[in-house]
Amino acid sequence: MTRALASLALTLCLALAGAGAAAAQDAEDAEDALGLGQRLDRPLPRAPRGEEANADDGDEADDGEDVDGEDVDGEAERPWPGPQVQLLYGYTKLADGFGGGDAHTGGVSVFLQWPLEELRTGVSAEIGSRDYSLGGDDLLVRGALEVGVQLPRIIDPLVPHLSVLLSVGGLVGQRFESTVAHAFAGGGLELGAELRLLRNFHLAASFGYQRWEMDGAGYDLFLVRLGAGL
């Protein structure tokens, strides 16, 4: 009698468990059918548009995913690795020893984000005027090499960078009614960022410290540069 009751109870439990599992499976099937409750482990591919949709018809290999499952269309939205060109305005103070030395420059910067997006290499050239307290303004010409790192995806669309710069240039001015030229060279660090507005178009701002050597003397400079580029 006891065995018969235990057997009946076990049979009922198994039946209830089977019914529960079947009901859960039915519910999952229903959710799948409605498109609910799916957990996405990667972005959904973008829906094809226009000619793209026609080209994709019946072609499974061109459905917007590469072999690794990464969205190929996302590649097109990445900034072009370069060369990118910026037009710059720069300000610094190259002290003349008599209270003056404000220098305003305009220039061009060309940089690459290659072979890694995080690597930034570039060159720049600037020309401008430097205030000389005891006479007329000087002509300032500067070229720079830049190597640095940037973070292209962390706080997109802002791309900060930290670079090492080597600068060479010259200063031409009037001293005691005579034209004199002095060469300078130096290096330093620059911290800056690009705000990417539309594809490669961006605004840029940077702040840097450099130490230059000119005429046997060293100069501590803080440089501010603003720019826009493609």
């Binding site: 006479g135 009614e177 050597e213 003397a217």
Partner: protein, 179 residues
């Protein structure tokens, strides 16, 4: 050469770290120290160049365009500076200088006192020499020196030397005024 260029830039950048600060204009200038060490003159070279040293002083000049482009030796430069260590008191010496200028037919454009960067005061005359072969202006400054001596500094120029550049050059002169 292409491989060497980055190394040269790097070396220059390292040198920049060691150089004295350019905030002090004296660090960019060449110096002349009097034989007794009682006076030091700082001058920007170029354009200033050492013309000759004397037993008790020095002569500097900024070459004229005729000197530079025409290759002419001698002749007046755009600016000339002659500094001499002499006996006497600056105040009595400037009175004698003034009298001599009037006798020579020079016009006195200004009389004043100049303070060096170290706050040493010295009397100064600004003169114009209309009778010279070349149109010349002069600034004559006397600074006191130890031992009852004076440093006579004369700047001669084709245009007026009464400019901020010349004034600062004179202000940067260092003199030993200890008794």
């Amino acid at each position: 050469m292409r491989r060497a260029s980055p190394l040269v830039l790097f070396a220059l950048a390292c040198l920049a770290a060691c150089a004295p600060s350019g905030d002090d204009p004296r660090n960019r200038m060449t110096t002349w120290v009097s034989p007794g060490g009682e006076a030091t003159i700082f001058y920007l070279a170029p354009p200033w160049e050492l013309e000759r040293t004397l037993d008790n002083g020095v002569a500097l000049r900024v070459p004229s365009n005729a000197n530079l482009a025409g290759g002419l030796e001698g002749g007046p430069g755009k600016f000339e500076l002659v500094a001499l260590v002499e006996a006497g008191n600056p105040n009595t010496r400037i009175v004698a200088e003034r009298a001599a200028a009037l006798v020579a037919g020079r016009e006195i454009l200004d009389e004043r006192e100049l303070f060096t960067a170290e706050e040493v005061a010295g009397p100064e005359l600004v003169l114009f020499d209309p009778g010279a072969e070349f149109r010349r202006f002069r600034r004559v400054l006397y600074l006191p020196l130890s031992g009852g001596r004076a440093l006579r500094v004369e700047v001669i120029a084709t245009t007026t030397p009464d400019t901020p550049e010349v004034t600062e050059m004179l202000r940067l002169i260092e003199v030993d005024v200890a008794p």
